[in-house]
């Protein structure tokens, strides 16, 4: 990882026009992605993770509108706003520059095409007609994802296990050497041992090919293991972003703290877990001020009036909360047991 920024998102907002009114699925999101880094977007379902990532490759549903913001992409020293690209440029951008592996996509392969042909089609659609190049490239990638190319190439999707299909997708995703790979819930619905294999393969691929990853997950453990940086999303906003250790050991937002307190840990002795009270908000008519305030143990009158801005407290660590001091006080007991144990 270095400091070269490949993607800079500024103030991005997405609204879905629904029959019940506009859904503010992503509001004023800003973040940067560096070369070779893995950024995790964590948060509950409905917090806008998928919407945000679809906006980055402009594959949103028709009812969606990107109504503010910039998505600045840099390659080889040239920077462009993705939101200004025309359709042809956009097609080239997807795959060549930024590949997305959709949630559950391992079940969405074209069932009548052999894997070989899916690779060929993808390459052709993006102007790579050189068969010898394709052969070399896929062999290399299959080795990287630990699949037997001979066996997989001639198979139809249904002949492969879920884990093998997911690895095939990863190989397909990086076929054209993108700088960014977006993974939506890459291990959800896979079994534990298959998940492990996917995580290991991904780590290896990233080391070898040095792409940047944005991965979306509601699974904090996956973020702890794979991410360099983590962004917590709540009600369509990034409420905290920081290095993985900052987020897990020194959280600065009550929602992140709440999530950490509610996830069971495998190896910490007996857990003392607490849920966050209340339910996730409705994005058609979200709460005033800080959207988390109705569920927040530290909420004051100011929180219901005024939305706190995302503010930097430590190097690279930002939180959107009026009561960061209270979070710092409260987080002390988070790993108490771990400290007293060792």
């Amino acid at each position: 990882m270095n400091d070269e920024i490949v993607l800079k998102v500024e103030d991005l907002s997405v609204i879905y026009n629904s029959s019940r009114g506009p859904v503010r699925a992503t509001s004023n999101v800003s973040f940067e992605l560096r070369k070779g880094e893995a950024l995790a977007l964590i948060g509950e379902s409905g917090s806008g993770k998928t919407t945000l990532s679809l906006a980055l490759i402009r594959m949103l549903a028709k009812s969606a509108e990107i109504n503010a913001g910039k998505v600045l992409y840099t390659r080889d020293g040239k920077t462009r706003n993705i939101l200004d690209m025309n359709d042809g440029e956009m097609r080239a951008f997807r795959w060549n520059d930024c590949a997305m592996v959709f949630q559950g996509a391992q079940n969405a392969f074209n069932p009548v095409l052999r894997i070989r042909d899916q690779f060929l089609d993808t390459a052709r659609a993006h102007g790579r007609n050189d068969k010898e190049w394709l052969r070399q490239r896929t062999l290399e990638l299959f080795k990287l994802v630990r699949l037997d190319p001979q066996r997989v190439f001639d198979s139809y999707p249904h002949e492969l296990s879920g884990g093998m299909r997911q690895r095939t997708l990863l190989a397909l995703g990086v076929l054209l050497d993108p700088q960014i790979v977006i993974l939506d819930e890459p291990t959800t619905a896979l079994d534990i041992l298959t998940q492990r294999a996917i995580i290991d393969v991904l780590n290896e691929m990233q080391t070898r090919l040095n792409f940047s990853i944005i991965f979306i997950s509601h699974d904090l453990a996956l973020a702890a293991e794979m991410a360099d940086r983590v962004a917590t999303m709540y009600a369509g906003e990034i409420v905290e972003i920081g290095g993985v250790n900052q987020i897990f050991y020194e959280p600065l937002h009550p929602y992140t703290l709440g999530l950490l307190r509610s996830v069971p840990k495998l190896s910490h002795g007996q857990d003392e877990l607490v849920s966050i009270t209340g339910n996730p908000p409705n994005l058609i008519d979200p709460p005033s001020g800080c959207k988390f305030h109705p569920r927040c143990q530290f909420a004051s009158e100011k929180c219901s009036r005024e939305a706190p801005p995302l503010t930097e407290y430590d190097a690279g660590h930002q939180s959107a909360c009026w009561h960061v001091d209270k979070v710092i006080e409260a987080r002390k007991d988070l790993y108490k047991k771990k400290v007293t144990e060792s």
Partner: protein, 338 residues
């Protein structure tokens, strides 16, 4: 020793597929559910957890073996005794969307079993009892919920309704099958805590089924975990023993593979590599121990020829039983080298 409240004696279950294929989903399971214990069944998808839960609750019959309820073979229970068994064991399913009728109000969903089993006689009694049940599952104020329809509630609230429905028959056992898997992380624990409180408040024995070992650990910390693999229980013991001192190779591999929500821990974890990533099909189960083709500590001529039975491990100070011949014969596990 007390009589188990529910017990499997050598239970097997298979399903027919087409004319000739038989899928052996559960094989020779012995399992006792003791009164008021927290018992957790864990394992990867397809290992037979749901089938086990359905057989426990009487929704499915075993193909072989016996199920005993308070010591009596349920296949022989008749009339009122059979009805009492069915009322006593209630099951909560994973998907609260699918298991609640969308066209019925919460009041209707909950009052129906109350009338059917004769717990209430009239509307006023039913409203009262439904109100109590909603309070029991923390769906308050009751007036805000009782006349709503399932789609007007959040996923977490719907799952609370499913739990309230399970309580309508005053069960002594609740089988919760992945009951919080579809609920958001931030509210999962409140539902789990509520279920756990029923053990004490309502004298309910809880059988919790999950693929999530960390959740199993939290739920059954004071109870036991049974680890299943391809239709068999491969290890069973007190929860802290299972999670902190796993014995069976499969349990060890599983625990080593799971990421943890703690960057230092999860990144320094030692992962035990399997010899093969392919999960055998139930219709083509390997001979001997079903885990042997993947087991890092495979012993040629033992594991591939003999089916292991649950037994204690001589050198282990804990009290877990495992189905692994080398271990139960007192051997040290040695990594297999081909």
């Amino acid at each position: 020793m007390t009589t188990p409240i529910l017990e499997f004696e050598n239970v097997s279950r298979s399903f027919k597929k087409g004319r000739t294929t038989i899928i052996p989903v559960l094989q020779n399971i012995d399992l006792a559910v003791n009164p008021l214990e927290f018992l957790c069944l864990v394992g990867e998808s397809g290992c037979g957890k749901t089938t086990t839960g359905k057989i426990l609750a009487g929704l499915l019959a075993p193909s072989d073996g016996r199920v005993l309820f308070e010591g009596q073979d349920v296949a022989k229970l008749k009339g009122e005794d059979y009805k009492r068994y069915r009322r006593s064991v209630q099951i909560i399913h994973q998907d609260p969307y699918a298991s609640l009728n969308p066209t019925h109000s919460i009041y209707n969903i909950l009052s129906y079993p109350l009338f059917r089993h004769g717990y209430v006689k009239n509307y006023a009694q039913a409203r009262d009892r439904v109100g109590e049940l909603l309070q029991r599952v923390d769906l308050t104020p009751v007036g805000d919920v009782i006349d709503k329809y399932p789609h007007q509630l959040s996923g977490g609230q719907r799952q609370r309704v499913s739990i309230a429905r399970a309580l309508t028959t005053n069960p002594s056992i609740i089988v919760a099958d992945e009951a919080v898997s579809m609920v958001d992380v931030s509210i999962r624990i409140s539902i789990l805590n509520m279920l756990m409180a029923m053990q004490n408040d309502l004298a309910v024995t809880l059988v919790f089924i999950t693929h999530d070992l960390a959740l199993a650990k939290y739920f059954a910390w004071k109870g036991r975990i049974a680890v299943m693999y391809l239709g068999r229980v491969v290890e069973i013991g007190r929860t802290p023993e299972i999670t902190e001192n796993p014995q069976h190779p499969y349990t060890k591999v599983l625990l080593s593979a799971i990421p943890e929500p703690d960057p230092d821990r999860t990144r320094t974890k030692v992962h035990v590599a399997l010899r093969s990533e392919d999960i055998p099909r139930l219709t083509e189960l390997p001979p001997g121990c079903a885990f042997h083709p993947r087991c890092p500590w495979f012993v040629e001529g033992v594991c591939n020829t003999h089916i292991p039975q649950l037994a204690p491990v001589p050198r282990n100070l804990g009290d877990s039983d495992v189905a692994c011949i080398p271990l139960t014969q007192g051997a040290e596990l040695k990594l297999y080298e081909s």
